[in-house]
């Protein structure tokens, strides 16, 4: 049969229509429950204009006010002749020249941008993911190679590790790490959280590594050994580079999972993205908006991650 090449764009158009339809029905559904959308409350949780108050140090008079752009420089003279100079935003100035001031009186404020709770939460999620991802990769590589080792002890230990970790919920592991191991070894909550996530990821990476190495034809290792390479050299130069290429898709999936699983460390009071979202809701009452934002922020981490993985995959496929 001859396959005719058909234009693809009408189908992409249909996809767009379906998505728009879904969005509309979502909007309609929320209007049914009379929810008041207040998106304007959200941005302050990313960044806000922080105000810092400047107060008089003692009793005295305002001796001079000089204006420099938006700033005003206020000079106070107290009863003993001491001088205090304060810089405040001009529009916040509460006094005029010659006014009396008492100790603790507000002279004015300065404003600057500060990161809000959602921004801090995002940052915490990113560094916890990164730290536990790198550690998990190392643990997984070692454990995966141990599972293939000729030494029965190494093989048994790595099998026990993988089965224990895969057979118990991550949430329970985090509790054990924080409340039991953390108490015994006096670990900080961040350390306990990262360690639990790294060990959890390591077990899955170990299985990915084992499967990847086993999928490389035996002849590859034999060819390397026949050239005089040691077992380690053959693994490093011949088998692992090929295995890495093959396991890249499941590995990327594992790291995307890890980013999402970091939300579980909120249970040991690490203020990552999910917990800061919950905190933002308690003060804003904008439940829907904040949760949509939190979901969007996770996507903001994961979409580039999966894009990067598929680019790397294409680059490594050059030799096929």
């Amino acid at each position: 049969m001859i396959k005719h090449k058909k234009a693809q764009w009408p189908w992409h158009g249909l996809t767009a229509l379906v998505l728009i339809g879904l969005a509309c029905s979502l909007y309609f559904a929320t209007s049914m429950i009379s929810y008041e959308w207040r998106w304007n409350r959200v941005p302050q949780y990313f960044a806000y204009h922080a105000e810092e108050a400047h107060r008089a140090a003692g009793y005295g008079k305002v001796e001079a006010i000089t204006r420099q752009g938006d700033l005003a420089s206020v000079t106070l003279r107290d009863e003993d002749g001491g001088e205090q100079v304060l810089e405040v935003d001009h529009d916040s100035l509460q006094l005029a020249k010659g006014d009396d001031v008492a100790e603790g009186d507000l002279i004015g404020v300065t404003r600057h941008w500060a990161a809000g709770p959602l921004a801090w939460g995002l940052w915490t999620t990113v560094w916890i993911s990164l730290a536990s991802g790198v550690l998990g990769l190392l643990i997984g590589l070692v454990a995966g190679l141990c599972r293939l080792s000729n030494n029965p002890t190494l093989r048994d230990l790595s099998t026990v590790y993988v089965e224990l970790v895969r057979g118990t919920p991550l949430l329970v592991q985090i509790f054990i790490f924080y409340f039991f191991i953390g108490t015994v070894l006096n670990l900080s909550r961040e350390f306990a959280g990262v360690a639990a996530l790294a060990l959890f990821t390591g077990a899955y990476v170990a299985e990915i590594v084992r499967a990847g190495v086993q999928s490389i034809a035996r002849g590859q290792g034999e060819a390397a050994r026949s050239l005089g390479l040691s077992a380690g050299q053959s693994m490093r130069h011949v088998v692992l580079p090929q295995a890495f290429k093959r396991v890249l898709p499941p590995l990327a999936g594992q790291f995307i999972s890890l980013v999402k699983d970091t939300s579980l460390v909120s249970v040991i009071a690490i203020t990552e993205l999910t917990k800061s979202g919950r905190e933002a809701i308690t003060t804003s009452f904008s439940t829907f908006e904040i949760w949509f934002c939190v979901a969007g922020l996770y996507l903001l981490i994961n979409l580039p991650l999966s894009h990067f993985a598929s680019r790397l995959e294409r680059r490594l496929a050059q030799s096929d």
């Binding site: 034809a217 002849g219 590859q220 034999e222 060819a223 390397a224 050994r225 026949s226 050239l227 005089g228 390479l229 040691s230 050299q233 130069h237 011949v238 580079p241 090929q242 290429k245 490594l316 050059q318 030799s319 096929d320």
Partner: protein, 244 residues
């Protein structure tokens, strides 16, 4: 050069014991070309793989230039440096270019400098007739070209002996010739070679001795003209009737 004494290799699969190599002894002199023949499952490939320790064996000794393979003092990697091997399925490293395939072991094992190893690699690629493919990946090469790269890769280590494990069995018929030509050149240059093959023409033309295996036993060890015209062993006679 190669000395094999009472070599025994037993495969034990679920209680079924098979003697893949059964008390085989032979010598290979320097510069000699041996061709190993036999029906499939006769143990000839296993015998070849025992010669460089890719297959462990149960009894007997193998040595090259006095270096014992089973001696605990022998570094098996150092031993294998001296023995080149060419496989049926080429086993080129697919993630490396042809040049990198030839340079890896020179760099990692022989610790040669970049210029030295690349010059050696290019010289050998020229010799096997694919100098212009140095920067290609193996997947872009035909089977015959890949096998010639594999031969060059083994030669890059300056081995004392070359082992060939059915080097033309996985090739399309029109490519067999180009690989055999390279092997003939090697033989003429005085390389010590042990070849497991089904190429009777090559055996007749190039071999100094023909070894015939069946059921793990070395049944006949004679010059090719004698083996092909008047084989002593009955099973060798039957084998030749089938393949010729």
């Amino acid at each position: 050069m190669i000395e094999v004494r009472d070599l025994v290799k037993v495969f034990d699969t679920r209680g079924q014991v098979v003697r893949a190599v059964d008390h085989v002894s032979t010598n290979v002199a320097k510069g000699e070309v041996l061709v190993v023949l036999g029906p499939s499952g006769s143990g000839k490939s296993t015998f070849l793989r025992c010669l460089n320790g890719l297959e462990s064996f149960d009894e007997g000794t193998v040595s090259i230039d006095g270096l014992q393979l089973v001696d605990p003092k022998t570094d098996v990697n150092a031993y294998r440096r001296e023995v080149g091997m060419v496989f049926q399925h080429f086993n080129l490293f697919p993630h490396m270019t042809v040049l990198e395939n030839l340079c890896l072991a020179q760099k990692v094992v022989r610790k040669r400098g970049k210029q030295e190893r690349e010059a050696k690699a290019r010289m050998l690629l020229e010799k096997v007739g694919i100098g212009q493919k140095a920067n290609e990946f193996p997947s872009r090469l035909s089977g015959g070209q890949q096998q010639r790269v594999a031969i060059a890769r083994a030669l890059a280590m300056d081995p004392k002996v070359m082992l060939f494990d059915e080097p033309t069995s996985a090739l399309d018929p029109e490519m067999v010739g180009e690989v055999l030509d390279v092997m003939k050149t090697l033989a003429v240059e005085g390389m010590t070679m042990v070849c497991v093959t089904h190429e009777m023409g090559f055996a007749r033309e190039v071999a100094d001795r023909v070894l015939f295996f069946d059921h793990g036993k070395l049944l006949e060890d004679s010059p090719p003209e004698q083996f092909f015209t008047a084989p002593k062993d009955l099973r060798a006679q039957a084998f030749l009737r089938q393949v010729l």
